[in-house]
Symmetry: C2
Subunit: 727 residues, 2 copies
Amino acid sequence: MTGETELENWTLKKTGWQAGDAAEDGNRFLCANGYMGLRGTVEEAGKEQFAAVTLAGVYDQFEDRWREPVNAPYPLYAALSFDGESLSPDSAGSGNHETELDYRSGIYRRDTDFGPVRLRTKRFVSMAAHHLLSDCLEIEVRQAGTLEIRTGIRTDIWDINGPHLFGFRIESGETLLCRGETGEKHISVASAQCAAADFAAEETFETNDKGVFRILRRKAGAGEKLTAVLYAAVYTSLDGAEWKEAAEAECLQAKAKGYAACLREHEDAWEKIRNCSEVLLEGNEQGALALRASQYHLNSIAPRHAGNMSIPARGLSGQTYKGAIFWDSEIFLLPMFMYTQPEIARSLLNYRIETLPGALEKAAEYGYRGAFYAWESQEGGKEGCTNFNVVDVFTHRPVRTYFRDRQIHISGDIAYAMRSYYETTGDRSLLEQGGAAVILECARFYLSRANAHADREEVDFADVIGPDEYHERVTNNAFTNRIACSCIDSALRLQEDFQDRPEWFAALLKERQFEADWHLLPALRDRIRGPKKKNGIIEQFDGYFDLEDCSLDTVRGRLRDPREYWGGDHGVAGTTQIIKQADVITLMALFPEDFSDGEVDANWAYYEPRTEHGSSLSACMYALTACRTGRTDEAWELFLRTAMIDVTGGGKQWAGEIYIGGTHPASNGGAWMIAALGFAGLRMVHGEPELHPHLPRQISRLVFPFTAKGKKLMAEVTREGHSITER
Amino acid sequence: MTGETELENWTLKKTGWQAGDAAEDGNRFLCANGYMGLRGTVEEAGKEQFAAVTLAGVYDQFEDRWREPVNAPYPLYAALSFDGESLSPDSAGSGNHETELDYRSGIYRRDTDFGPVRLRTKRFVSMAAHHLLSDCLEIEVRQAGTLEIRTGIRTDIWDINGPHLFGFRIESGETLLCRGETGEKHISVASAQCAAADFAAEETFETNDKGVFRILRRKAGAGEKLTAVLYAAVYTSLDGAEWKEAAEAECLQAKAKGYAACLREHEDAWEKIRNCSEVLLEGNEQGALALRASQYHLNSIAPRHAGNMSIPARGLSGQTYKGAIFWDSEIFLLPMFMYTQPEIARSLLNYRIETLPGALEKAAEYGYRGAFYAWESQEGGKEGCTNFNVVDVFTHRPVRTYFRDRQIHISGDIAYAMRSYYETTGDRSLLEQGGAAVILECARFYLSRANAHADREEVDFADVIGPDEYHERVTNNAFTNRIACSCIDSALRLQEDFQDRPEWFAALLKERQFEADWHLLPALRDRIRGPKKKNGIIEQFDGYFDLEDCSLDTVRGRLRDPREYWGGDHGVAGTTQIIKQADVITLMALFPEDFSDGEVDANWAYYEPRTEHGSSLSACMYALTACRTGRTDEAWELFLRTAMIDVTGGGKQWAGEIYIGGTHPASNGGAWMIAALGFAGLRMVHGEPELHPHLPRQISRLVFPFTAKGKKLMAEVTREGHSITER
């Protein structure tokens, strides 16, 4: 990061301009509304600067490249020239440019002083109307001259594994319209744009291989203040038959309504979101601000427009990680939504219910029964993960990785989330409307995947990958074995969940042809190998303690290329005890009742120094367990690291030769978890919410709204005490 | 290979000198007698040219490097100088040097014309007295001058992972003696040497950090012909308490006996060996010569001096492959010995019986019961294979390989060999004296290693490596599953083998605490997954057909470094259908009764083009199966490739950064197998030997001696017919 960045009150502000920051700033200054994400690049930016509008849930595969989400034709392009000279932040000089993001309601502002002209913009992706984007350009003319404002929709789209849109059809006039169709499934994507200027100008249109452009030209006098507002709408054919007409209509309606009204509706929508989810943290300004940033990012990408979508690992910040849904959704994102906006949590889980057929298919592909959920799930549960998910930096050859075939904990994670949702919200309809079937099919998968033996009772899960992905193809990963047990427990408990509707449950078993398997589950559950311990430390997997025990620095020192992939047998970490992320500690965070405080503390002390935290799924788990054992200083430090990740930028940008930059929803969700579940200690006990606080000395007061079993509640924790009240 | 090489009658002859050939010629011109191997380097050569006397069965580990066999102090060093100028083949000029190896009785000759002096030597490693080596130097002086002959024992020893000998103690006088002790186990190694010259000379001694030397200096006249004979003996403290005295005594006794008499005893011993094993091949001179070369190499390294030793993968040609015993011994070397010199076959198998404790220990190390034999077995069954058995050429980092932990077919190979030996020789004492226990413990290992399931009967062997080592960690390798079944069958058949001694067998089961396991074996056997087929082609392992199906040339073309390791997930072959060596075809060669001719042919046609033959264990299996289906032209071509390997040199010299050059006993054994078991079709049918010939058109007649069930027999196959007669 270059340029000076400040986080103050609700605003992230960056002073100065460095062209090389564009990729990272695109993530940090992201605006999104769950339907789409508009990267935080300046209006003049093109594909070279990773300017993009990324669509949620619309995927395409080009040739044999990776399937990934589709970026729409970019409809908020705008660039100025003055007296024939193009203006850009590059030419303005580094000191004459500022960027801001207001986390309260996701408003992006830029301010560039080009000398003869100053440009201020203010844009948002509407939280009230999820197809709408708008940008207000204020131009101050300092000296007389010819001003040209070039705006339009760009068809030269940034794609990682594209192109994805073909056969563009372009219309211009009051509304610019640009339509293209994906190559794989022929999904149409349309971007429309119209403009309202408060000044007279010569208007011309231009269509070329970069897109369609509206050019406003005016001989401007010194001191003129001009305003032009761009209204844009994005639709796809998945949104209904009238997608093209809707795109045009929506921007014209917005134009008619006016910028101020559109903005107000957007801000009102955000206020409602904040009212049900905002955590007030007192005592430490940095912590408060970081938490706001985190919550902004997570709330902005929640699928509010659909009841059956989930959230990709890099949110809507681009095509990184193929726009796929990982276990992040169930384990790291779900808790905040479940406690603050259960309808969004339900959408995340409905996505898994609807993609059950894909999971059944994947299990069958590997010769198993039941539901083996995709590691990188795309629409319909399609597996986005390939067998070669990393590129070797030395040979430039794809590396065979086993994420796709061996991360079997994903099914258990989903079953775990289903039960958590039910127990927290009390909403049994989730189970009735597909959730119970998911849990059963996941249990069946473990039944089918389990390794029994010819000469002994014990059951292993062999050849798996646990949360720590650096160690591939291990046996009896403690976390995986436990989540499998939990899944089987959850399946068996369904009988009790539906004891008032035994016929319904019997019918379900029958419908899924589950009767024979049902009777095998209790014995399987009893025989699954529990964790192996040495001096109280749980062995992450069989043989882990036999691996080279060296420091993180030693392992880092062995890198010959900074972009090298650390994991697998060829990676610097794979043959050592250095792990990518919390694994045994995730086990302890998810199943706290299995372990004593002493055990948690000893394992924390063992594993933390051996953890690279090379994933956004790590620090949160260490922080949650640290709270429990009174390591509140460490928890606070990890909380800041987690909550600040999309403020400071950073994080790993490369895995081998694959770009993995973007925002970090799991960290955002993790920050809320640390605050609410860790510091405040919120948990459900016998069906009732309780607080068991572990406030770090940096915090004097925590207040946050939540819901449990349908009740709207408010939690408050201070040094003096804590309370849960109705609101 | 540079220099011109001819193979004529019984002799391999090379004309010319190229210093760069020393390493490869050291293998091709090897002399050995089972106790030790003397590399085929010139007398002047030192460690830089890989001159060495490698000892069978004496291992040492230096620091954390690989354990490997120990090379003795080199006792046949000799170099001339004339008028103060050192003479060497380098200085003689390339055209003035010849080397020969007589395959009849392993006599190495060199002839170098230095100009003023010509040196002819003739040396052997005695097959009659296995500690003895001798070299006869004939020097023809062309012009008057001062001749100096420097001979001695070198202590600057060539080691790959050394040094291994420490604390040298040196004596000089009539006998030069040099003793050192290994670092790991304090095994003493002594080389002694004495010399007999037929001319008067000034004799002086020199001891320095290179060894101990005897210098003979003479003012020689033009036309003088001088002869000096070196007698050397090598002993270790493993040979008995009097090892030092014996070394001295043995060379003095040889000196007293004289070179001619020693040579005659050596040649007589070789004649006996040839009489019981030599295959006469008529109709094709190249084939006949290649077969002689092959048989020479294999016979020269047979452990005739001990009843409990086996043969390393690179014989006694050096320390390559750690001097370890692989499955080569049971599957590729055993057949020739079993049919021609059963006492040597018995020694090979006794080695496995004696190392059973090591195999039990290895199984326990991995959490299994029974006998898991070492992949690279050293003395006592110690595993020589490390977890990092290849070095990456790009990063120079050791690569995690799974040869050590997953090549579980080794135990079945050994059980298979035990039964073959018993059925061919009729010698049940092998089973009584430990063989039956080995078979039982191997079966127990498979019982313990098998993957059963919680919801179905089928049993898999998961996470294994089959014969084709390029594909690591595969499931249901067809060969591995079959050899495991065969091992269990063999265990179950023991009851029948000992139906005349039921108490003995019951006592054996009891002694080994095998009763409970015994009852589990039949069900296990029935449930092991048989081969999966697609269009009649057996899938080498689960998922093999889903791998990239590309040509060998395509895969080779992807190499970025000629020394790259092809295998594992990172290798160019590992993710394709290209295999290192016969795998399904080995299954068909070892279990011919399981398959129809048509199946064999179809699988041959599928797999052969996908096989790199990157191992000496490959061509032989393809040739054997090709014979069966009438592909005799292909069989002939593979036979020549197999039999010529140690004539032409070549073969892979590198695996990653590891040197793997040496002789190829498995190919040597394979050549005999192709001739006797393939072309002549020798096999045991209902306890009697039969011939089922498949003579290639290149062969008019095959005659060879063999023994079966204790009877000495002679097989003859011509185009007209075939016969087995007593001899």
